[in-house]
Structure formats: C-alpha cells, structure tokens
C-alpha cells in the first residue's frame, strides 16, 4: 500500500468529512496540529479568521497582535511594509525592530524586538490629548484624527513605548533634482509618496502644512486593510511568520490559541497600560 493510501486509511474520517462538507464556507483541515503551519500557511488561516471576525459587529471583536520572538529574524520586512503601506515619510516609523547583540565571542547571539503600537487598553497617549484627536475607535484601536490633531506632541511624550512619531513634512524622493528629458526626476518619481489610504481616506500630503504633516502618527493596526478583509501589512509580510493578528474574542482563532499559553508576555506590564500586543518568548 502506498504511503498516501495508508494515510487515507488512517484518517479516513477526516478526509470523508472534507469531501462531504458543503463548499460554502468549507474549511480545509480546520483543526490545526500543534504547529500552526501544519495545514495551511498561517497567513491563510488568519485571513480566513479575519473574514469571520468581520461578520461580527465592531464592538464584539477584540483585535490583538501576537509576535513570536523566537521566530523573528530581525528582517525589518514589517517595518518597511508598514512604511510602504502607509507611505510614511522620512522620520516617521510605526513599527521599528530593535536589534540587540548579547554576549561575548563566541557565546554571542542577537535579539530582535518588533514594536508596533501596543494599542493599549489604558493608553496614556489618549488621555493627554487636549482635543480628543487620538482615541479608541469603536474597535478599540487607538487612532489619530489627523484633521483634529493640533500637533502638540503630548501623546508622543506620554507613550511609554515610543510608538509615536511626528510628521515634519519630509519626502523621500521629492526633493531630488528634476531634469525633464534626461532623468525621471524627483517630482515625477515621487508620485507614489502621495498615495496613502490610512484610515480609509486619501492623504495626498502635499505642501508643508497639509495633514498629516504637522501631526503625530502611529500604527493603527492597518484598519483600512482590515475593513477590506486584508491582514495588516506587517503581518502578511512577516517572512519569519512571527507576527499574528486576529480577534481575541474568537475562541477558535490563532491569536486566542497563542495568547493563552504561559510563554506569553507584554511589554512594560508594570505601567498598567494593558497592551493588546503580546509577545511569545
């Protein structure tokens, strides 16, 4: 008997279930083995779970992010994906990855720590905002209303995680020389810098004063993507498969599974901020 045949026999019931399950909403091997990657890429699983969560009302879901530090390789794909997704200008970053070298040769290693916004439940940043420009939206994501923000940077000072940076109005390519007919030139090249869909809105960000220039900016769990059923940019691009995103109110979701394990921590717990970003160590 071939290996496949043996396997079939061994798990006949599962396969049978797979065959008879109605196609609508069918899930391929819904029960993951001990390794979340076993049956499908976790990205696909999370994508499916995201769709499930979106069927609920916003207040019923609880978005969390889980970062497995054992799997993070410090590649910064997440950092750059976030920059690219949100067209973050020079000096603005939502998700840096800290690298630390530990030990003495030859007993030496490196540690990597990606840091999105913690989306704190008790968020010091929102409390200090004088004009309610930064607040918890109906899904409890901490957002910044660029049109409301006066740019006082109090939230930046208050965030214990350094998760906020200020938009000083820089561009990566725009200032570079123009020379029609010889080179592409700064302004032509920089078209992409003006495409940002943050918060589901278009931000051309032209000029020296147009929001989000002059505002404090931060990670928003890519809610403009989530609403369309796309996982956050840092999550889909995580080549280490170290970043997980989902609804912690869904008992069957990957993130729920992960945060209910003992090897989970949150940063600066002592401050009582109650982050929604968990780390597996």
């Amino acid at each position: 008997m071939s290996n496949e045949a043996k396997l079939l026999q061994k798990y006949a019931s599962e396969v049978f279930a797979g065959l008879v399950a109605p196609l609508e909403g069918m899930e391929i091997s819904a029960a993951p083995a001990e390794d979340p990657l076993a049956a499908e890429d976790v990205l696909v699983r999370m994508h499916r779970e995201l769709a499930r969560a979106l069927e609920k009302s916003p207040s019923e879901r609880r978005w969390v992010m889980v970062i497995d530090l054992r799997r993070c390789i410090g590649c910064h794909a997440c950092t750059v994906a976030c920059v690219a997704e949100n067209k973050l200008p020079p000096g603005v970053v939502y998700r840096p990855v800290m690298t630390e070298e530990i030990g003495t040769y030859p007993n030496v290693t490196m540690k990597f720590l990606p840091r999105p916004c913690m989306q704190c439940e008790h968020s010091p940043c929102t409390e200090v905002c004088p004009v309610n420009a930064t607040y918890h939206n109906e899904e409890e994501i901490v957002v910044v209303d660029y049109e409301q923000c006066i740019g006082c940077r109090a939230c930046m000072a208050a965030c214990p995680y350094g998760a906020r940076t200020f938009d000083f109005g820089y561009h990566y390519a725009e200032q570079l020389p123009m020379f029609d007919g010889a080179i592409v030139g700064g302004q032509t090249a920089a078209g992409y810098e003006h495409i940002s869909q943050e918060y589901g809105q278009e931000w051309e960000r032209k000029g020296r004063h147009e929001s989000p220039v002059g505002n404090v900016r931060k990670c928003h769990f890519c809610l403009h993507r989530i609403k369309d059923g796309i996982l956050p940019a840092c999550t889909t691009t995580c080549i280490g498969r170290a970043t997980y995103f989902g609804d912690a109110n869904d008992p069957d979701s990957l993130v729920t599974e992960l945060i209910n394990k003992p090897n989970v921590i949150r940063l600066k717990e002592e401050l009582g901020t109650e982050p929604r970003v968990y780390y597996i160590v």
Partner: protein, 1082 residues
C-alpha cells in the same frame, strides 16, 4: 532508519490537507475559505483600491535574485504597494491551489522581504535615465559629462561607427560583424571543430592550411587567419551581463550568437556562486554508455529542503539575510526553531541565521573542506554512512533498491604515481571486449562480456565481493551491480582504489584534531556536527552557498560538503538535498506550441571560435597551444561566465582584442573584487574602442560607457525568473510589465511603437543590420519578431501548455471573469506596452492558447500544486541519475596555469593561493576580509531604495572587539582598509578621482577575531551618489547614496595576473573571502 510517525504529524497533515484540497479542486471550487472572505468584501460598500483584483497585477520581484512572486497594487497607474503573490510558493507555505480564481485572491497576500516591499523605489528612482546618453565628445570616459541624443541617432552611431567623439574613427557594429554569411559560418565552425579534435600537431597544421585555402575569400573576416579558431571578427563584439534571467537571456542568445554571430556573451555566474554551479556540473557529468566516457554535466547545484529537514548545516549560507531567499526559506527555518527541527551554522560571522541556530561554528574562512573532511572521516570511521545506498553502482541496482539515484563510490579508479586518474574500464581487464556482431543484416560494434552479455560500450568496473565486475551503468534491465565500497590494491595490472576509498584516504590525511586546528574549530565541534547529522536518516542536509564557494579552493569546499550529504544518501529525498524544477520555457518539449529557440527561419548564424574567457574549448585543443604552461591567463575548461575575467582579458587582449563591449545590468567595477583594475581598462578607449551600456542609471559601470541606453526596470518588463534548488515544485515565474513610468519615451522599430528598453536596442540594431531571426519573418516565414512580447508571450504559451505532448498538462483557460480582470488590471498600461490584439497575435491568435496565457499571466507564473512536490519520502522531480563521488572528468582536465590536471576528488587545499598555486605574501596585513549581504540591501542596485536605507543607512566594517582593542579602534570610528595590492586603500576612478575604501567600524562580538566583514550595497561613487553633467546642466548627487563602505577594491589581486582578483581556477569563482587587509583609524 525510517522514523515511525505515531501522532498526526505535521507531515501527515500536509498530505491530508493536500488530498482534501485536491478533492475540492476536482469539484470546481478551491479554497472554499476564500468564499467567506468574498462575502465580507461584498458587504463592504467601499473597498479601497487595494482590495480589488482590477487594481492588482502579478509579476516577479527582482530586487534580489530570489524572484519572489509579487502582487503590484496600482492606483491611477502608479504602483502604490507591492505584496507577495499568494499563488507563489515563494511567499506562502504551503501555497494555495493554483486554480483559485484571481478574484478570490484579491485580499490574500504572501510575505516579502523588505527589499521586495521597497521595489517601488527602484522603478520610481529620480535618477533613472530617460534618454540615451552619449559621452560628451571631447571629454574622457568617466569624467561624468553627457549629452542626450535621440535613440535613432544613437543606434545609427553604434551601428555605423565613425569619428564619434572627435578621437578618431571607431568601428561600429556593422564593421565588426565582418562575417555575414551564415552558411560560410556554419562550414567554418565545422572545420574548426575538426581542427580542435585533431591531436597530432602536424596534421593540425595541415588542417589549418586547408582551412585557409578553402575560405580564402573570407579570411579578412577572421580575427587571425593563422589562428582561425579565434573565430570571425564578429567575436570582437562582446556582450557581458550582470543579472539576467530567462527570456531576455534567450533573446540575447538569439541576438549575439545566432544573429550577430559573436561567440562572446557571458554572464556573472562566477562572482555570484560560480564554483557551486560548477561543482554541480562536475558531480553531474553524465556517463555516456556508448562512448564509454563522461559527457558534460549540468550547470546547476543542490540545496537543502529547508522545510522538511530535521537537521541542516548551513555552511556559508546566509539564509536570514540573503540567499534564495528570505520569503521562501525563512518561514521553513523559523518553523524548525519552534518545532524541534534543528540547524547549525558554519560561518566566521554570527549571521542572523547563526543567532537563531542550535549551534554556531565560527570557522576560519577558507577552511570549509577541512571541517567537512573531519566530519567525513568521523562518519566513515564510525560507520555512520549509508552503505547500502553508496554500494549501488548502476541504474539497475538503483531501481532494484528503489533509490532515486546512485553514485560511483564503488567504481574503481586507477592510481598512477599515487594520483587518482581515470576509472578502470572493463576492457582493460579483459572483462569485456569489442566485437562486431551482425544485427538486422548490419555489422555493429558492441562490447561483449565473457558470458556473452552485451554492453553498449566500454564500462567501468566495481568489485563485487572482491570480484571485478563490469558495470552496465545506464541500462535498467542489465545486471544490478552492488559493489564493494572500500578497496585499495591491485586488480590485474592496475593499482586501483574505489572512489570511496579515495575519499576516506583524503579524509585521513589529518586527524580530527588536526582538521579542527586547520578550521579553527574544536574537535568536539566536528564530532557533534557529524553525530547530529547522522542521526536523522536522510532528513539531514548540508546547505552551502557563497561562503564556502567564493574561495580559491571553493570548488573543493563545495565538493567536500556535498560529500557529507552523499554519505547519508540524502539527494532527492524529502528533507535532504534537492534541485530546482521549471516548466520548459523554450518550447523544447514535444507538443509545446512555440519552440522559440529554433523558430528562426533559414539564416540562423553559427557563432564559433575561442571565446574571450577560454571556456568553450580547451587550451590543448586550440591552435594557441604550444605545449607550454602557464598560459598568459588561465583557461577555464570546467567553468563558464567568468565575470572577473571579462574586462581583464580585454585589457590583456587575450586571446584577442575586443572592439565593442556591451554591458547589461552589470556593476563590474563595483561588484567584482579588485574592481579598480576593471575601471582602468574600461576607461581606456584603446583597449575598448566602443563601449555601450544598457542601464537604468549612470552607474559604476555605465559611467565609463560611451553610450548608455535606458532600460525598463523589473516592474516594467518581461522575464522568466525560474526557480531555485530549495524549491521542490515545478514552477516558472513570469515577470511582466506591471507599470509604465509616466511619460516614458518610446521609439519606432519595425514600424512598431515600443518603449525605450533593452529590447528596443536589440530590435533596432537588428533592423538596421538586417539580422536574421528578427523582423517580420523573425520566427520564420510570416511569424514576426518585431515587438518584445512577440518572443516572451510565446514562451508564456509554452509554459501554459506544459510538458505533456497531448496537452494534458496545460493550465485551464481563463474564463470571462478572468479575462475581464486581466484587461482591467492593465488599463493603465500604454498601447506601446499593452495592446491585447498584438499580444494575442503573438501567440498566433489561438483563442484557447491565449486564454491559457491569460490564466498564467493572471497568476504571475505557473506553480505546481503543493501536494505534487513530493512522492512519499522523495521529491517528485528528482535529479535522478549518477552522482559523481569521484570526478573522472575533473581529474583529466588540465589546469593551464600549472600544466597538471585538477584533482578529481574531495581534497583540502589551502585557500588564498595565486593562479599558479603559490601562497601570497601579505606582510603587515593581518586581518582577513570577508563580505556578506544584509537583508535590506540588494547588490549595487539597492542604493536607490530610501525605505530600506532608513533601516541600514550605511555599510560598516564589522570587527571583533579583541581586534578593535588591539588596533585602538572604537565603535563608530572611521577606518581605512588597505591591502598588499591596494596599499592606498582607495579606488582609482581615473581622471584624477579617488574613492576611499573607508567606513565606520562596528565593534562587535558577532565575528571571529582576526576576521573583518563588510556588507554589500554601500560605498557607491556613481548611481546617483555624485554629481554628473548632462547637456551642460549639473545633476547633483544625493548624499544619502554616497554613504560608505565598499571594500571589494581592497581585495587581493592575483600576483601572477596583476589586473584581476583571485580566482578558483577549477570552479571559476571570483574570490571574496581570502584577502588579508590592514584596518587603520583615519
């Protein structure tokens, strides 16, 4: 040895899901899970552009050479975001079903590395040139003064030549193409082959004379009639490329060799991982049963099956920063970290991979073979190797044992003066003899054994229980031969050893302690590695890359590591050592619609002659052979595409001078060790009278060109990216135009409007010179090759058709919805790029084929189903034939710098030797310089990606704290790197300009003391980093691109050759890790 699975293991699960997915596929709906997503999105009244398939185009990344599938999201014609193509096995693991409708994939995306994410900035680089630039007449090469000229004028000038720069007459492409008659060329080529094959000197002389008289009217067209085998003057046009992939490569082949008629087209393999390819080539050289000798092997290599190995040793493989490549291999490796599979890293530097490894072995650079031989010794002496597998001596035994391949470990090798040479042939022992037999009334020559068994030719011999036995190697129905593995002694008149015996003795040249000492590791390291390696059946593998390869002894390092693999017999096994598989893009399989390589019409030109790199024939066969060694420059009988030799050979006019050089996507002075010598030659108009470059900017190479033709970036063009050895599935990645830069110039060629591009140059030259293989009948009567996609779409059609003659392997036809999405997603492309009618015409207006093409293009390539990658414990697409544990072909190949043959078995040879094999003195230069890639930088071309520069803004010199303390260097100090061959520590850019080899030191614990390392990608002196003048106007450089450090210029030059860095003469590699340098604070 086979581990029993008790629980529902991960592996079983994969199969299970694959089965289920397969079934679902049959029922016509693929991941039903996507459906749910679609519902949600349908409910979303205002989905952003990102979520809509009409704004997404699938193509292939080329930020590095990994070639990950990408999904380009387009808004108002601008590439707004790049994400992973969810169909691609590079970005999702497992990858979803290929048949999943594109619409359902609109919100699914796979993972990409940071460079892939930043690709937008490669396409939209302000410094990209949009016009042909001509060196300003009256200024020198490299002075940085340009004039823009119309494309048509540029083509006219390079084709017709003339006094182009006020420096006197320059031959154009027309003049250099002296031989234009394809028939004469073909005849000459045949005759030249005859001359080469003639061993007798006098008769050779006579053949030359005969040649001269036969082709008297054409002798003018030859480079040197006295040496007709140098070929026609056409060969004085040389085409050199850096990064080039399928498609363009096929077109270049057509253009340079078959249309223009030059033999000289060379890639960059040897600065990449050359020796790895050529180790693969020698290990795969094929037994030719009829001839009784070996034919050439394949230029390829193997890698570990990252996702299924229980234990991998990564030796000089930088998996978490580079390699082929992060999105594809990293998730499999990080899965190992959390799921109890293990890996070890052998690297002088603590790479990120090493930082996550079960064990890091900081080896002394250049000594990989010592470590591997230590392991081999331990494995052999402790009987921790797969005897049953290695004993298999032929296909028949292989089939009987159910193995996917076999080796020549048991084949006897003749030893003369202690040196292993050729395999013993059965006829030499009289075991078989040549006889003439009647067959179908015809006399045929066969070899017959003593018992009357027939052999197709002379055959090797193995001892079977001590009895010499002829091996019918390839015939599956012949007698299986399972030979004795270890033997040393006399058989008949011959002193012989088995291949394995030779390996054992080589491994026994030193004790474990001595091997450890050489490699700078501990004896325990060797034992621990070997023990672990041999504790996982065939699910262990050594994975090697540049770190073991780019040394003067690279060929042997690679070979040593491959031997470690071979001893456990893991080739073609799941979790073992595997190879790449691609759908045929050349239409070479029966039934494929377009055999593009041979669709040529009648006038196909045969390029012939000795190539500039001396790789296509041997010195001994050539008419240049005068019995003396060393040759002026080395010949490379094993390797090809010796990038580091291109320009220095031109410099020495050896074997002949070059008149026109064209470079493509290449950064020679920057990427090659000792690049300053390359600059010297590039800048010299006597050595290279005409220098044309295809580039996207004024780069380190094209800054020395006479003409720079702007090219399209990877986001705007066609190419077939192929696969990599660690990918088990059969695939082909299709790169296609995803965007067009606003206002991108076009030109008219053959009456067609096409974008300014590399293709435009070739097509326009072909039009002007009326080259065969191009134009209205380019693919034969009535089949035009007048637009770029005329070629590429045929290739897509071949891929879509698949490899079964009856078409049963072809992809489905795109349905109406997919056709709609296909058209909508390209609505932003100008007609010059995308005209559906013209595209369809390119595949012969065959509706069904066209729809299949659309199906492939909608997915950015073709990817075999996940479950088809493996068959049981083996890969589905095995290498599947003889693996040479002993390399007869290598052992019989002469090294022209020493006059002796290369060694045909795994041997430790110290690194860092000169071309003639001598140690190189380096007094006062006490640190070993190595280099590596960092995740955020790709090659010379990463510098325009400001997003990734925000992560690592400059390259620093990694130095161990012990060395730093000794030298009084502190973290952040600026240091200069110099060497015996570059004591000033600077590049001479010519015209009085210097570029210092300086950068900041990073004092660290993460590197072996005595070794310093720098990352690739920084330290530019062109590519937008410095001011240039175009049409009298200064285009200021960007200081962000002028950051340090590039230290290839400090690498050791070969003292024998003088104008090039060190090379591995067997494997061809340029050497990046064997230079001794001095590091001084400035």
């Amino acid at each position: 040895m086979t581990p029993k699975q008790k629980k529902l293991s991960r592996r079983d699960f994969l199969k299970l899901s694959a089965l289920t997915a397969g079934t679902a596929g049959l029922l016509g709906s693929l991941p039903g899970v996507m459906r749910q997503v679609q519902r949600v999105i349908a409910a979303n009244t205002n989905p952003s552009f990102e979520a809509q398939p009409e704004n997404q185009l699938y193509t292939v990344c080329l930020q590095c050479n990994t070639g990950c599938g990408i999904k380009v999201k387009i808004l108002d014609g601008i590439a707004a975001k790049i994400d992973g193509n969810p169909y691609s096995p590079w970005t999702l693991w497992p990858h979803p079903a290929y048949e999943t409708p594109v619409k359902e994939m609109a919100t699914v995306e796979g993972a990409l590395c940071p460079k892939g994410q930043a690709g937008i900035q490669t396409a939209y680089d302000p410094y990209r040139i949009v016009s042909v630039l001509k060196r300003k007449p009256g200024t020198k090469r490299g002075e940085g003064q340009w004039v823009t000229i119309p494309f048509e004028q540029a083509i006219e000038e390079i084709v017709e030549g003339g006094d182009l720069f006020g420096e006197g007459h320059v031959d154009g492409l027309r003049a250099v193409r002296a031989l234009t008659d394809p028939e004469v060329a073909a005849e000459m080529a045949t005759k030249i082959k005859g001359i080469w094959d003639e061993k007798d000197a006098d008769r050779k002389r006579a053949l030359i004379e005969a040649f001269k008289s036969e082709f008297r009217p054409y002798l003018d067209a030859l480079i040197d009639p006295e040496h007709p085998d140098l070929g026609p003057k056409n060969n004085q046009f040389m085409f050199v490329w850096g990064r080039m992939k399928g498609g363009r490569e096929d077109v270049v082949h057509r253009f340079v060799q078959e249309a223009y008629g030059s033999i000289n087209m060379n890639g960059h393999t040897t600065i990449c991982q050359g020796s790895l390819y050529f180790t693969g080539k020698q290990m795969s050289s094929k037994w030719n049963a009829a001839k009784g000798s070996f034919d050439s092997g394949d230029k390829f290599y193997w890698q570990a099956d990252t996702g299924n190995s229980e234990f991998v040793i990564y030796a000089g493989t930088n998996l978490f920063d580079s390699n082929y490549g992060p999105p594809q291999r990293v998730p499999k490796a990080t899965d190992a970290i959390v799921n109890g599979r293990k890996f070890a890293v052998v690297d002088p530097r603590l790479s990120k991979l090493a930082a996550r490894a079960w064990k890091w072995v900081p080896i002394k650079p250049g000594t990989d073979a010592a470590l591997a031989l230590g392991m081999i010794r331990w494995m052999l002496e402790n009987e921790r190797y797969n005897k049953a597998y290695l004993s298999i001596a032929n296909v028949a035994a292989q089939v009987a044992a159910g193995e996917p391949n076999y080796t020549n470990a048991t084949w006897l090798v003749k030893i003369s003066n202690g040196v292993p040479g050729k395999h013993l042939r059965a006829s030499e022992l009289g075991l078989i003899s040549k006889q003439t037999v009647q067959r179908d009334n015809e006399a045929v020559e066969v070899y017959l054994g003593q018992d009357g068994t027939e052999y197709p030719g002379d055959t090797p011999v193995a001892l079977v229980d001590g009895v010499p036995t002829p091996i019918n190697v390839l015939n599956a129905d012949a007698a299986p031969v399972v030979g004795d593995l270890l033997f040393s002694g006399r058989v008949g008149d011959f002193e012989v050893k088995t291949g394995l015996q030779i390996l054992l003795e080589s491994a026994q040249e030193h004790t474990l302690a001595e091997w450890a000492e050489i490699a700078g590791v501990s004896e325990n390291d060797i034992i621990v590695l070997a023990n672990e390696f041999t504790s996982h059946g065939r699910k262990a593998a050594v994975d090697i890359h540049r770190g073991s390869s780019q040394h003067t002894n690279g060929f042997y390092n690679n070979n040593a590591w491959y031997m470690v693999n071979l001893l456990i017999g893991n080739f073609d096994y799941k979790g073992g050592t595997i190879k790449a598989s691609t759908y045929n893009r050349k239409g070479e399989k029966p039934g494929q619609p377009f055999p593009v390589m041979t669709m040529f019409g009648e006038h196909h030109f045969t390029a012939f002659g000795i190539d500039m790199l001396r790789t296509k024939t041997t010195y001994e066969k050539s008419t240049l052979f005068d019995g003396t060694y060393p040759t002026r420059r080395p010949w490379f009988p094993i390797a090809t595409d010796i990038y580091q030799e291109d320009i220095p050979s031109i410099g020495d006019a050896y074997p002949y001078p070059i008149k026109i050089l064209m470079t493509y996507m290449s950064s020679l002075p920057y990427s090659v060790p000792g690049g300053q010598k390359i600059i010297e030659i590039l800048a010299d108009t006597h050595k290279i009278p005409l220098f044309i470059a295809s580039d996207i900017m004024i780069s380190e190479t094209s800054m020395y060109a006479d003409y720079i033709f702007p090219d399209l970036t990877y986001l705007e063009r066609w190419e077939f990216h192929g696969s990599h050895p660690s990918v088990p599935w059969k695939v082909e990645n299709v790169r296609q135009p995803a965007i067009s830069i606003p206002g991108w110039p076009t030109t008219e060629v053959w009456g067609e409007e096409i974008p300014l591009s590399f293709e435009a140059v070739l097509l326009a030259v072909a039009e002007k010179l009326e080259l065969p293989g191009f134009g209205p009948d380019g693919f034969g009567e009535g089949t035009p090759y007048i637009r770029p996609e005329d070629f590429y779409l045929k290739q897509v059609a071949d891929i879509a058709f698949g490899e079964k003659e009856d078409g049963s392997d072809s992809v489905p036809e795109a349905d109406e919805e997919e056709v709609r999405i296909f058209l909508a997603a390209r609505r932003h492309l100008p007609k010059s790029v995308f005209d559906p009618d013209k595209w369809k015409a390119a595949v012969g207006n065959d509706e069904s084929l066209w729809r299949k093409v659309i199906f492939v293009l909608n997915r950015g390539g073709r990817y075999e189903a996940f479950e088809k990658g493996y068959k049981g414990a083996k890969v589905a697409h095995p290498y599947g034939r003889l693996i040479n544990l002993y390399q007869e072909k290598t052992a019989t190949t002469i090294n022209t710098m020493t006059g002796s043959p290369f060694t045909g078995y795994t041997k430790y040879i110290p690194a860092g030797l000169s071309a003639t094999g001598e140690p190189i003195p380096h007094p006062g230069y006490d640190l070993r310089l190595i280099t590596y890639k960092t995740m955020t930088m790709a090659k010379a071309r990463g510098i325009s990606n400001y997003w990734t520069l925000a992560i690592v803004p400059e390259g620093y010199l990694l130095i161990n704290s012990q060395d730093a303390a000794r030298l009084g260097i502190q973290d952040g100090d600026t240091v200069r790197i110099s060497s015996a061959s570059n004591p000033d520590g600077a590049y001479d850019l010519q015209n009085g300009k210097k570029h210092p080899i300086e950068g900041k030191a990073k004092v660290s614990e993460a590197i072996r003391p005595g070794v310093v390392a720098f990352p690739l990608g920084f330290g530019h002196w062109a590519s937008g980093s410095t001011d240039v003048e175009i049409d009298g106007r200064v285009v200021p450089g960007d200081p962000r691109r002028a950051v340090p450090l590039m230290a290839n210029g400090a690498m050791q030059l070969d003292p024998v050759l003088g104008n090039t860095g060190l090379s591995d003469l067997a494997g061809g590699s340029a050497v990046f890790y064997d230079s001794m340098v001095k590091v001084e604070k400035v």
